[in-house]
Structures are given as structure tokens and as C-alpha cells.
């Protein structure tokens, strides 16, 4: 075996000082040479532990070899065999806890940059293959109709898979664009919206009909859909309802949920106000509460909108932060300040109802809790005041109850998640499947896609039998 190369090929990024003021993509992607250099480090392990670390079991050594062989169409084919949204996953998957963690070279601290290679292949496809992609033979129509609700990664994958099998699919989306969190949550500088819309266009090209502006549970209920002739329903409505801490002052002006802030900025393009009509107020000193991807995205958006100081306030330590490591590093490079082991006690406002400060506690870590992470405990008497003029609460989300409220026989668990079989996604309600954040609570793009794919398979089995 050749000598193992432990030099991970770095990916070029925009300079932190410059990117902190624009919404263009931060990471610039590999060149062909870089991709090959990185691919050449792969050991082609016969047992491919990397594949086991990927929730959708991509043949990772296979696509990497195709890059080395200069056979890009083959690399695309291998990736797409398991993952219909590689351009998205390559950018946003938490690789360090999935494929790259499992890579044989991880022990040596230099796993293959699988995500970056995946992104490289997907971007190659977008620029080169569109035209040369031979139109697949349309499948024979089965005459079966499926309603898919929600157009996030789960809904898009379920729709595509079912349409490819010849079923007639209608995708219902509450918002005015399709894409779910990929459109309204994850910012442009991390996931260009054009990439998401390319995937949406692909789904439409398979014959899927997308009904925007359709809030299921309001304009039509699940039972009405079934009665009107749909043979099955897949629910991929995510976990879009924001949580708050329920502490004094939380409704002051200038305190946004991350969902509201990110929706205004990303979906409604408030960063281009007044060219776009939707405004957003950005403070000079901004605090973001939370330690996940949502918190990092909010903090980095606030910076890009012109805030002078942006703080992340997180009640545990950096080791417990659920955000992707790469994004924590990016945030730090851009100048986001981390106030760890800190938690808000209450918000302070002025006479006109605007937030002016946060009274915080210092925290310390105790014994591990149910999540396996050490439980944060308030340090008594440690209160201090942080002056801020804007706050974004990124405290987690839960499924929106609109559908469950109008569908009594759809069973839900604590926190409103829909109960569904772990493998098949079948819910307790006849003819209804579910997958993604609606079942698991806020999780990842790739897990939502995996669940949708398994559910689509089970729905297809069911449709064949009726």
C-alpha cells in the first residue's frame, strides 16, 4: 500500500473579513485538481466503513474512484443512486459525525473530505450534465395518486421516488416557494438557493405537480384528500414551530425567533430591503441564544446585515454544541463571539418596548442528562447584564400542530412529533406515512431524506397491493 497521505486538501473560502458583509457562498468548492488530489488519498477500503457512516449508504469509495478515473458521469450516477440531493448534502451534512467520522483515516485525524468531494461531483453535474443527461424513459403510469405534504428534503425525495415509480404525485406546500428549511432557514451563503431550486425543478420534471400556498389542515384536511381520490399520503411537514423559553421580557421588540429572523432574511430577502418589501431590524449588538446550526446561521446573518457585535449565548460548553464544527469555525473566523456556559434569565426593555439587555446566569456542567451531554446548572449569584439591542432565540422547534389538530386518528408523541414506524414511516392512520423532522423532531437533511426514501418504498409496496 502506498504511503498514507494525511494532508486533507483544504477548500478555498471567501476571506472572513469580506464574506462577513456579503451573502455569497462562503466555501468556494474544489477545483478539478484539488478534487483529484483529495480523491487520491482514499484507501479504497474493502470494508468501506465510510458507507456505513452515511445514513443513505452512498458507495463512497465507488464515487471517489470514478473521480480519479475521470469518469464524472459515473461518479454522478453512483451518488444519485442513493442520494438525490448530493449538491445539498455535500454542503450541509454534519460529515464529522457521519461518513467522515467513520472513515478509516479519521483515527489519524485526516478523514477523506467526503462532503467536499460530493459537492464537487454535484456541482460538476449541474454545470456539465444538464443538457447531456439523456431523458430517462418515463415510467408506466400506475394510475395511483399520492399526496405529499411539505416540500422540504423529505417531501422532495418522497415525491421524486414515487413519481419515478409511475405514481401520480401532488406536492402541497404551505409557503410560496418549495424547499422547506433549505429555502427559508439555511442562508444563501451556506446553501445557494439556486441549487435548491434546481432540485425542485428536477422533481417537477418528473411530473410531480406542486401546489404552493396550500396549508394542509386548513385549506384541505388529510381525510378530505383521501376522500378526493388520493390512495396514499406522505407527511413531510418538518418541525417548523419555534419554541421560546417563557422568561420575562421575551416578547419585547427586537426579540425574534430564529425562524422569523431567517424567514425574513432568506425567504423574504429582507437583506435587500427596500428593494424587497419585507423589513428586518438589525441591532448593533446582537445576541443569539442557542448552539445549533440554526444559531450559527442566525448569528452570521446578523453580522452580514451590519451588526457590530454578535454573541452566541449557549448554556453548555463548546464540546456539547450541536452545530456542525465547520460552521462554528466559520462563525468564529468571521468574528462571532461565543459566550458559553451562559443562559438568559430575563430580558430588559426600554419605555417603548424594545429590548436593551439580557440578564444572564453563568452555568456549570453537572452529570450527564438524557441526551448524554452534561447537564448545565445555574451558578447561583452569577447574574450579569449583557447590553444588546437585538436577540434571536434559536431554542429549537417542534412540529406544527395544524395537521394533527384536524386529524384526530394521527397519533402524536410528546412535543407533537407524529408516531411512525422507524423503518417504513407508516403512521397510526390508515394510508398515511410520515418522515423527516415531523417524526424525529429537528434533525438533519440527510436523515429526512433517508426516512422519505424508505417510506416511498413502503408506499409503493402498498400501492402495488391495492
Amino acid at each position: 500500500m502506498a504511503k498514507v497521505n494525511l494532508n486533507r486538501e483544504p477548500m478555498a473560502k471567501q476571506d472572513p473579513k469580506i464574506r462577513g458583509r456579503n451573502f455569497n457562498e462562503v466555501a468556494l468548492g474544489y477545483s478539478a485538481e484539488q478534487a483529484k488530489a483529495e480523491a487520491s488519498r482514499c484507501l479504497q477500503c474493502p470494508k468501506h466503513p465510510c458507507t456505513d457512516g452515511c445514513p443513505v449508504e452512498i458507495n463512497i469509495p465507488g464515487f471517489i474512484k470514478a473521480i480519479l478515473d475521470d469518469n464524472m458521469p459515473e461518479a454522478v450516477r453512483i451518488l444519485k443512486d442513493k442520494n438525490s440531493l448530493p449538491g445539498i448534502c455535500g454542503r450541509v451534512c454534519p460529515q464529522e459525525t457521519q461518513c467522515e467520522q467513520a472513515c478509516s483515516l479519521a483515527k489519524k485525524g485526516a478523514p477523506i473530505a467526503i462532503g467536499r468531494l460530493e459537492r464537487y461531483v454535484a456541482d460538476w453535474e449541474r454545470t456539465n450534465m444538464g443538457a447531456l443527461n439523456p431523458k430517462a424513459m418515463p415510467p408506466k403510469p400506475t394510475g395511483k395518486r399520492v399526496a405529499v405534504v411539505g416540500s422540504g428534503p423529505a417531501g422532495l425525495v418522497a415525491s421524486a421516488d414515487l413519481a419515478k415509480l409511475g405514481h401520480s404525485v401532488t406536492l402541497f406546500e404551505a409557503l410560496h416557494v418549495a424547499g422547506g428549511v433549505l429555502m427559508y432557514g439555511i442562508p444563501e451563503f451556506r446553501l445557494p438557493k439556486e441549487i435548491v431550486q434546481t432540485e425542485v425543478a428536477y422533481v417537477t420534471s418528473l411530473g410531480v405537480k406542486i401546489e404552493l400556498d396550500s396549508v394542509v389542515g386548513k385549506v384541505v384536511t388529510l381525510d378530505e384528500l383521501l376522500k378526493s381520490g388520493y390512495h396514499a399520503i406522505f407527511l413531510g411537514t418538518g418541525a417548523g414551530a419555534p419554541m421560546f423559553m417563557d422568561i420575562p421580557g421575551e416578547n419585547l421588540n427586537g426579540i425574534y425567533s430564529a425562524n422569523e429572523f431567517l424567514t425574513r432574511v432568506n425567504l423574504m430577502k429582507a437583506y435587500k430591503f427596500p428593494e424587497y418589501d419585507t423589513p428586518v431590524v438589525v441591532g448593533r449588538r446582537v445576541a443569539v441564544i442557542g448552539g445549533g446550526n440554526v444559531a450559527m446561521d442566525s448569528a452570521r446573518c446578523a453580522l452580514r446585515l451590519g451588526a457590530d457585535e454578535v454573541y452566541i449565548i449557549y448554556r453548555r460548553s463548546e464540546a456539547e454544541m450541536p452545530a456542525r464544527r465547520e460552521e462554528v469555525e466559520n462563525a468564529r473566523e468571521e468574528g462571532i463571539q461565543f459566550k458559553l456556559l451562559t443562559n438568559p434569565k430575563r430580558y430588559i426593555g426600554n419605555e417603548s418596548g424594545w429590548v436593551t439587555g439580557i440578564e444572564c446566569y453563568e452555568m456549570e456542567l453537572g452529570e450527564p442528562d438524557e441526551s448524554g451531554r452534561r447537564r448545565p446548572i445555574v451558578k447561583q449569584g452569577s447574574e450579569f447584564i449583557l447590553e444588546v439591542d437585538m436577540v434571536v432565540a434559536a431554542l429549537g422547534t417542534r412540529p406544527n400542530p395544524l395537521i394533527a389538530q384536524t386529524t384526530p386518528d394521527l397519533k402524536t408523541a410528546r412535543h407533537g412529533t407524529v408516531i411512525a414506524d422507524e423503518i417504513t414511516g407508516k403512521t397510526m392512520k390508515d394510508k398515511v406515512w410520515a418522515g423527516g423532522d415531523i417524526v424525529t423532531g429537528a434533525a438533519t437533511v440527510i436523515s429526512a431524506m433517508g426516512a422519505a426514501r424508505r417510506a416511498a418504498r413502503d408506499i409503493d409496496e402498498y400501492l402495488k397491493g391495492i
Binding site: A174, L175, H176, L212, D213, S214, V215, K218, V219, V220, G240, A241, P242, F244, D246, E250, N251, L252, N253, G254, Y256, S257, N259, E260, T263, R264, M268, F273, P274, E275, Y276, D277, T278, P279, V281, S352, G353, N400, P401, L402
Partner: protein, 279 residues
């Protein structure tokens, strides 16, 4: 795209649009609203359903020009379309037989209250309506409200039509009168709803108001529409918009409604300048 089938100007700066929206029309109930977005640059604004027709597949909206979006909306003609119309959103107004219900409408509130009064009347309630406006040129739908009420009192602040004064005056007289009032429903500017609630409170008459905080999605996704009712935070778009007026934290509502005053002004001026140039 959602087409405007018919439009009419009802009063100064108050317009009616009948929109093609068959799916919404089929499900609409009194007290619900829709979210409108004019085009790709537009923001999402909530407007209450003033009427709907399941057979025709249409919904009717009545709005007042107060800022950029409503100004832009008012420039549209019959046959034009808006990009998005989402609904019916919100919990429908609670309709049952209460007895005697006073429906108080202020300004543009005459539109949303009409279907509520109609539904309550159909349930067998006695409806006394109070319709108020600042001045005669802002009054509309007097006939419509009369047709769904047993009695109608009209007021104008400046006395140019009907009784001179504000709506809370006849409301107070009704509460003090012989007839038992079982419920009050007040829809209009926030300040008017607050004063209606203050008027009814000493009489212990349940008073429902339809809150109008700033909204974005209207589906419970953003929390922009947070209001505090009975000390508990609610999302007006999914928990309301109807709430018990005696429990509402009005100061919080007023403060939050003022969040974007500066931006609203800037946006409005920009649009006026742009449209001015075009003409």
C-alpha cells in the same frame, strides 16, 4: 396566481377586491383571514375574509391603504393577479346561540364583522351592530350591516353622519340599558378594540376582539404575531386572531405593531416616488 375578478372603492382609501380562490372559498368561515403577497418583491400581509362564495369560487377582501403593500395593492385592476393568496387561516370566530350580541365595527372593521354578524344571526342571536368611522367619507357597508343586524347604530367622530361620537358611547348605553347583552364582538383599529374591552369590563360581558399584530407566514411558523393573553404568550395567527379582549395585553400589542415604523415609512415613500414617476 390569483386573479382579481372585481374591484370597487368603497370609501376614501378603502377598497374591495373579489378574488378567484376556489379552494379557499370552499373552506372559509367567519373570522378567518388570508395572507396575500403581490409579487416576488412583496411582503406577506394578512387580510380578513369579508365574504366568500363557494359556488363562484371567490373570496372578498376589503383593505385600507395604510402603507406600501396596501398602496401597491390598490393600484391593481380587475383582471390583474397577485402572486399568492393563502388561507383560510386562523381559528374561525366562535359561533353559537348566545342571546343578544353587540357587534362593534370601527373603520375598515365593518368588512370582517359582516360575515360574523351574519353567522351569529343565522344561529338565532339578536344582533345589535354599531358602525363607527372618523368621518362620513370613510363609512361603507351600512346597508350590508343593517341586513345582518336587528338594529344598527352608526357613529362618526366628527358628526358628519349618524350619531356624533365614538362607538364606545352607544356601546356603554346598551350595556347600561334594560336589555341583557350576552356578548360583544369588536373589530377595528387596536385602540378602538381596547376601549371597547375597557367599556364592557365593568359589566362582565364577554368581549371578543380580532387582534392584528404584524404577521409573516400566518401558519404558526415564525412567532412574529406573539400576543399575550391572560399572561400567556399566544401566536395570533393560529391561536386566534379572536381573543378575549379583557385578557389581552394591549400595550404589548401596540408596541409590537410599531416595530417597523421607520422601515414602513421608507418603503412607502419609495413606492410612492416610483409610482409617481411612472404616471
Amino acid at each position: 396566481m390569483f386573479r382579481i375578478i372585481y374591484r370597487e372603492t368603497l370609501a376614501a382609501k378603502i377598497h374591495l377586491f373579489k378574488m378567484e380562490a376556489p379552494a379557499i372559498a370552499k373552506k372559509a368561515q367567519a373570522g378567518q383571514f388570508v395572507v396575500v403577497r403581490i409579487d416576488d418583491r412583496g411582503e406577506r400581509i394578512p387580510l380578513t375574509l369579508a365574504n366568500w362564495d363557494g359556488k363562484e369560487g371567490s373570496v372578498t377582501l376589503v383593505f385600507m391603504e395604510v402603507g406600501a403593500t396596501t398602496f401597491r395593492l390598490a393600484l391593481l385592476k380587475a383582471g390583474d393577479s397577485v402572486a399568492d393568496l393563502v388561507g383560510p387561516l386562523g381559528v374561525p370566530t366562535h359561533i353559537e346561540k348566545f342571546g343578544t350580541v353587540v357587534c362593534v365595527a370601527g373603520g375598515v372593521g365593518a368588512a370582517p364583522i359582516a360575515p360574523i354578524a351574519r353567522a351569529l344571526k343565522e344561529k338565532g342571536n339578536k344582533i345589535i351592530s354599531i358602525l363607527g368611522a372618523r368621518s362620513k367619507n370613510l363609512l361603507f357597508w351600512e346597508d350590508k350591516l343593517r341586513s345582518v343586524s336587528h338594529r344598527l347604530i352608526v357613529t362618526t367622530d366628527d358628526g358628519t353622519y349618524g350619531r356624533k361620537g365614538v362607538v364606545t358611547e352607544p356601546l356603554k348605553e346598551l350595556l347600561e340599558g334594560k336589555e341583557k347583552i350576552d356578548r360583544v364582538i369588536a373589530i377595528g383599529p387596536s385602540i378602538m378594540m381596547k376601549f371597547c374591552a375597557l367599556t364592557t369590563r365593568p359589566f362582565g360581558v364577554k368581549t371578543i376582539v380580532s387582534l392584528n399584530p404584524i404577521m409573516v407566514d400566518g401558519t404558526g411558523m415564525c412567532g412574529c404575531c406573539r400576543v399575550s393573553v391572560g399572561g400567556v404568550t399566544k401566536f395570533a395567527c393560529v391561536d386566534g386572531p379572536d381573543f378575549d379582549g379583557h385578557q389581552v395585553d394591549w400595550d404589548l400589542l401596540f408596541a409590537r405593531q410599531r416595530t417597523y415604523l421607520n422601515e414602513e415609512k421608507r418603503s412607502f415613500e419609495q413606492w410612492q416616488a416610483q409610482v409617481g414617476k411612472r404616471c
